[in-house]
């Protein structure tokens, strides 16, 4: 991104957080101890949208809870804007705004009061809180819903109202945990437009938690891929994709059973990841052309429902890096 400066505003070094082993109860075996954050190192630069990508259970939320001062790490160092947050976790609230996944605290308030109260609690005086509330609701297209309680709204609207509350009371860092969950495309566009405006005008930095690979590819400047509490890669989306080389992805969807009697189809099978009627293959471009020609030209075509040929996505990167649970990632 042209706007991104190279000043590092956040560093994480050797961060470790373990959950102790659970005791065995009747009917449930003992849960082993889990390292939810395992020696994590990160650098976050001013003005960028930095992503944490990984399936559920990869440790994204645990990492974010430590960055926001909600959870104390077992070991390691977190510095944001020159402040040591392991030693002073209470300073996080004065440096960043956090949009968590839960809205329980705001559910019974109206959209307007949720935004205004959050602004007051960020230290704004009443007049500024009201002015910022009105501006943010207008910016996000929520003015018509201002008098409605959050719990009467749809999931996506409620999420947008919580995002509005996170924006009232300017902070140089926004930490957003899956902000667009359940939103329609209009609301999503409003979120990213609001984020872009703050980056352009104030150099706001965004840390985005997501398991949506399409969103990650379109909005992130850099992304750390998490797997079982570890960062297995960290680069720009394009840089990560170049790790996979120039392999392309071929998806074949069969009408019913794959025609294994056709030798060219049988030859592809060992390299395919099968999910129901869908086969996914990662192939060199020449191989991919040959495979597509074979299945679309020969008798196998009768059994083919659909096929796609695509350049690698972050999902392919995740698989190529040895990520075990790509099914936890969402496309679209």
């Amino acid at each position: 991104m042209a706007t991104a400066e190279d000043t590092v505003i956040g560093t994480v070094r050797g961060l470790v957080k373990s959950y102790p082993a659970g005791r065995a109860r009747r009917g449930a075996p003992a849960a082993p101890a889990v390292r939810a954050t395992d020696e994590v190192d990160l650098d976050i630069r001013r003005g960028e949208i930095f992503g944490l990508l990984g399936p559920n259970g990869a440790g994204k939320t645990t990492l974010v809870r430590q960055l926001t001062g909600l959870m104390r790490p077992d070991a390691g160092r977190i510095e944001l804007f020159g402040h040591d947050l392991v030693r002073h976790p209470e300073r996080a609230a004065r440096l960043l705004a956090y949009l968590g996944q839960e809205s329980t605290a705001l559910d019974e308030l109206t959209v307007a009061l949720a935004a205004e109260t959050t602004g007051r609690l960020r230290g704004l005086d009443p007049r500024t809180a009201r002015a910022e509330r009105d501006a943010v609701l207008e910016e996000l297209g929520l003015t018509a819903l201002a008098a409605r309680p959050l719990k009467k709204l749809s999931g996506g609207q409620r999420r947008l109202a919580c995002f509005a509350a996170a924006l009232v009371g300017d902070r140089p860092l926004l930490i957003l945990d899956e902000p667009t969950t359940g939103m329609d495309p209009v609301a999503r566009r409003a979120v990213w437009a609001a984020v872009d405006r703050r980056r352009a005008e104030r150099g706001t930095t965004v840390l985005l938690v997501t398991h949506n690979v399409i969103e990650a590819e379109t909005v992130l400047d850099r992304v750390a891929v998490l797997e079982a509490g570890r960062v297995i890669a960290c680069d720009t989306p394009a840089g990560l994709k170049s790790l996979v080389g120039d392999e392309v992805r071929v998806d074949l969807v069969w009408r019913d059973q794959p025609p294994l009697d056709a030798p060219e189809v049988a030859a592809l099978r060992p390299r395919a990841q099968e999910a129901g009627r869908r086969w996914s293959l990662r192939l060199a471009p020449a191989e991919a052309r040959a495979a597509v020609a074979a299945v679309t030209g020969g008798p196998a075509f009768a059994a083919l429902d659909d096929f796609t040929l695509a350049t690698p996505s972050l999902e392919d990167v995740y698989l190529a890096l040895g990520g075990g649970q790509a099914k936890g990632l969402v496309k679209g």
């Binding site: 160092r77 020159g82 609690l121």
Partner: protein, 288 residues
């Protein structure tokens, strides 16, 4: 880990408490790369403005969610008084019944409902919202406790007036409620908040709140002179008792104001302690 000299820590803490952290003041022995450009911190929300913001937000919740429950609290107390009218003829017993039923509204809302609220807020991750805002813990606890105590005002006043009419007690000194509701409210909502924030699971918070309210019902409404000694001691331990006593004394033809003031003083002291406990419990629950 960073190594910091003691004097540097105190200098930084002092600067921090002043609301700003000047980037230029750096103690010796710090890591240069990370410390060179410490950004100014946004101001904290101060106690009273934050308290009033939380209080206002909590009060608004009554419109959305709490009104049916407030009616339940009042109906329960009115029902108990009507039942007791068949048993109690008048005099000291009638005063105890009316005072107990009135304070029961406070126990229902401030103790029981607030314990449930904080229990659910804690279990549902709602505390994260407050914990990631620069707001003093006391503002969150006092704001919520104050709002729940305020919820009890109409129900308590209505119960006290209806009871006085029902049992033909003098209405002249019912202004004592102006002291009883906030002070008993503080004591009971502090207990409710502490219960909700300390209970490891929301069901236990609900259970604790219900038990507390049941105790207030049994020990507050039944006239003290009929109770066996051990239960009488339990009655003395329950903070709502002192609210009940203060209100009961005010029904006397010539109330002993010293006694009323002493009872309210106990409520106030318990209120301070229980709200301090709840604030500590909030801190503990917010950061794990």
């Amino acid at each position: 880990m960073t190594t910091v000299s003691g004097s540097a820590v105190s200098a930084q803490t002092a600067a921090d408490q002043a609301g700003t952290l000047p980037g230029a003041r750096r103690g010796a022995g710090r890591e240069p790369e990370a410390r060179a450009q410490a950004a100014p911190l946004a101001p904290r929300a101060r106690l009273l403005p934050a308290l009033s913001a939380v209080y206002r937000a909590q009060l608004s919740r009554a419109r959305v969610a709490r009104i049916p429950l407030l009616f339940v609290a009042t109906f329960q107390s009115i029902g108990i008084m009507i039942l007791m009218r068949g048993v109690v003829s008048g005099g000291e017993d009638a005063r105890a019944v009316v005072a107990g039923s009135s304070v029961l509204v406070v126990a229902f809302v401030a103790l029981n409902l607030l314990a449930q609220y904080f229990g659910q807020l804690r279990a549902g991750g709602g505390l994260d919202h407050y914990a990631t805002l620069p707001v003093p813990p006391a503002a969150v606890v006092l704001g919520a406790a104050g709002a729940y105590a305020s919820f009890t005002v109409p129900g308590t006043a209505f119960t006290a007036v209806a009871g006085s009419v029902l049992f033909k007690l003098p209405l002249a000194h019912l202004w004592v409620l102006a002291g009883v509701v906030p002070l008993a409210g503080a004591a009971l909502s502090g207990l409710g908040a502490a219960l909700g924030l300390l209970a490891p699971r929301p069901e236990l918070a609900t259970l604790g709140g219900q038990l507390g309210m049941s105790a207030a019902l049994l020990l507050g409404v039944l006239p003290a002179s009929h109770l066996p000694a051990p239960i009488d001691w339990a009655r003395d331990l329950l903070p709502s008792t002192y609210g009940v006593e203060a209100l009961a004394h005010s029904f006397d033809a010539r109330p002993d104001w010293l006694l009323v003031a002493a009872d309210l003083g106990v409520c106030a002291a318990v209120g301070v302690l229980s709200l301090a406990l709840a604030t500590w419990a909030y801190r503990r629950a917010a950061v794990r």
